[in-house]
């Protein structure tokens, strides 16, 4: 399988039920290390190669890569991919930005139907990751737990009874778990309540970041909330805490939407329809401008203002309009302003 073949597996599969207009994705990540090697950044090149070979071999024993149904797994050596292909994997929630940027022997195994991927030699030897549409922390954890057990059952994993799973960075030690949810919160942002909420949320042990994780800005009113503490809480407790807080924030966003609808309906409609008009007419569109406009379209969908625009279309545009997706989708290498033209054309086509 090539990287661009992952486009055959639509991330959001006609998901009227599973997606809301607020929660974009749920993500669970586990960090594991083999006890007999140093952590990745301390390894020699040879050791990194050995680790990748060993992990691939172990994985193939328990999760057949090709069993007639070769949709089961795709395996990519990151050093053999082009820059566009690597960026595509980041945009598709398969690898982290760190994994893309790092040097040295590293790879990723992707299970597209299960929304699961395993990075070899990111900051830790093994980073298991599941990103799925909608708000589904409990089921994501249940699947991830099973996957972790299946994959690592014969490996000698670095672990201690005192500190749990031993990781390169002490911020991950213990459960090695980072659980996060990506939220679309336009009304809380527009009414300037978002900062207060996130200050309160940090006191409860969560961190807030922009769309692409650490160090990114938030655009399109999209925020990623994750747990900060990984030690001293069980995986279920982490999931539970995060879940409860997310539910409160969702309620809050709905409340503010109601209030705005009552007091400022026309202003809201104006924003939504203007965004729709620009998206339908523009001949050039940057990704940054698009997700800000798309955010209003999305809000419009949530407020039942634009009944002819399907949620699936919105999510599809969100994913496919990203720089690397655009290029693999079009089958061409595109420079920045060529991408802006192609993106505008794609939007006009999809919006009909």
């Amino acid at each position: 399988m090539n990287v661009k073949d992952l486009l055959q597996y639509p991330f959001w599969n006609n998901c009227e039920e599973e997606c809301s207009d607020i929660v974009l994705t749920t993500r669970i990540r586990l960090a594991r290390n083999l006890s007999k090697y140093p952590f990745v950044h301390q390894c020699q090149e040879e050791q990194k190669k050995e680790i990748v070979a060993y992990l691939k071999e172990q994985m193939e024993q328990v999760l057949p890569m090709s069993s007639g149904d070769h949709d089961l797994c795709a395996y990519f050596d990151l050093n053999s991919l082009s820059d566009v292909e690597k960026l595509f994997l980041v945009e598709h929630f398969v690898v982290s930005k760190e994994h893309m940027d790092m040097k040295g022997p590293r790879s990723v195994a992707v299970f597209p139907k299960e929304h699961m991927s395993v990075m070899f030699n990111e900051e830790d030897h093994l980073r298991l990751q599941s990103v799925r549409p909608g708000f589904c922390l409990e089921s994501a954890w249940a699947d991830m737990n099973g996957f972790d057990d299946l994959l690592t059952q014969k490996m000698d994993i670095a672990y201690s009874s005192q500190w749990g799973y031993l990781t390169a960075c002490p911020t991950n030690v213990g459960t090695g778990m980072r659980a996060s949810v990506m939220l679309h919160l336009p009304c809380l942002t527009m009414t300037n309540q978002i900062t207060k909420i996130f200050e309160a949320v940090s006191k409860l042990g969560l961190t807030v970041r922009g769309m692409y994780g650490e160090g990114s800005n938030s655009n399109g009113h999209i925020y990623q909330l994750s747990n900060q503490v990984t030690l001293g809480l069980s995986e279920e407790e982490i999931v539970d805490n995060l879940s409860r807080i997310i539910k409160r924030i969702i309620e809050h966003e709905y409340t503010v939407r109601e209030q705005l609808l009552q007091k400022k309906q026309t202003e809201l409609e104006d924003k939504v329809y203007r965004a729709y008009a620009v998206l339908k007419a523009a001949r050039m569109m940057s990704y940054g401008e698009m997700i800000n406009l798309l955010s209003f379209l999305w809000l419009g969908y949530g407020l039942k203002m634009l009944t002819h625009v399907k949620i699936n279309t919105i999510y599809e545009l969100f994913l496919l309009s990203q720089p690397a997706h655009l290029q693999l989708y079009s089958g061409q290498v595109l420079k920045a302003n060529e991408r802006d033209k192609y993106r505008a054309e794609l939007i006009r086509t999809k919006l009909g």
Partner: protein, 170 residues
């Protein structure tokens, strides 16, 4: 007030030096004072006291103390870890056991794992041995408060459900 040299123990020896109106102070705990040959104040000569004020800046003295211990497996020192924020290998967790406990408490507010363990079992770091050694030292130093904390940690470890050696998978 903590010792200037190790930054861990309470300072019990205080030396003040005044040279041409500039006053500098040195505060040492009994262990570091002993290391610097400054054990018994009544036996101190002027040169002994002055030797305690080396020309090395105080933060480097602290760094020297922090530079040890060193992980036997990968060679990383605690100082290197502090500046890089990442550990070198799984054995570092044992090598830096006590200091890491403080670091982890600061990051997570807790210093004990609660959650799943590897299905296939695991090779345990001999934490009991580390704790027992630290407990013995604490008692010898008559640091009974520390000894009590270590004793409680040992008890917890003995009761922990995951505290088993790696199972034979054959």
């Amino acid at each position: 007030m903590l010792c200037d040299r190790c930054n861990q123990n309470k300072a019990t020896l205080h030396v003040t030096r005044t040279v041409e109106g500039n006053v500098t102070e040195l505060h040492l705990c009994s262990l570091c004072a002993k290391d610097q040959g400054l054990e018994d104040p009544s036996q101190l000569s002027l040169s002994d006291i002055l030797a305690g004020f080396s020309d090395i800046p105080s933060n480097q003295i602290k760094n020297k103390a922090l530079a040890l211990p060193r992980c036997n497996n990968c060679g990383m020192t605690f100082n290197q870890f502090k500046s890089g924020e990442r550990l070198g290998c799984a054995s570092c967790y044992q090598a830096f056991y006590e200091r890491l406990g403080e670091v982890l408490k600061r990051i997570h507010g807790r210093a004990s794992h609660k959650g799943k363990s590897p299905l296939g079992g695991f090779s345990s770091i001999d934490e009991k041995e580390v704790l027992q050694k630290a407990l013995k030292e604490a008692i010898e130093k008559e640091d009974f408060e520390k000894a009590a904390t270590l004793r409680d940690q040992l008890r917890q470890l003995n009761q922990a459900p995951g505290s088993q050696e790696k199972k034979d998978l054959s």
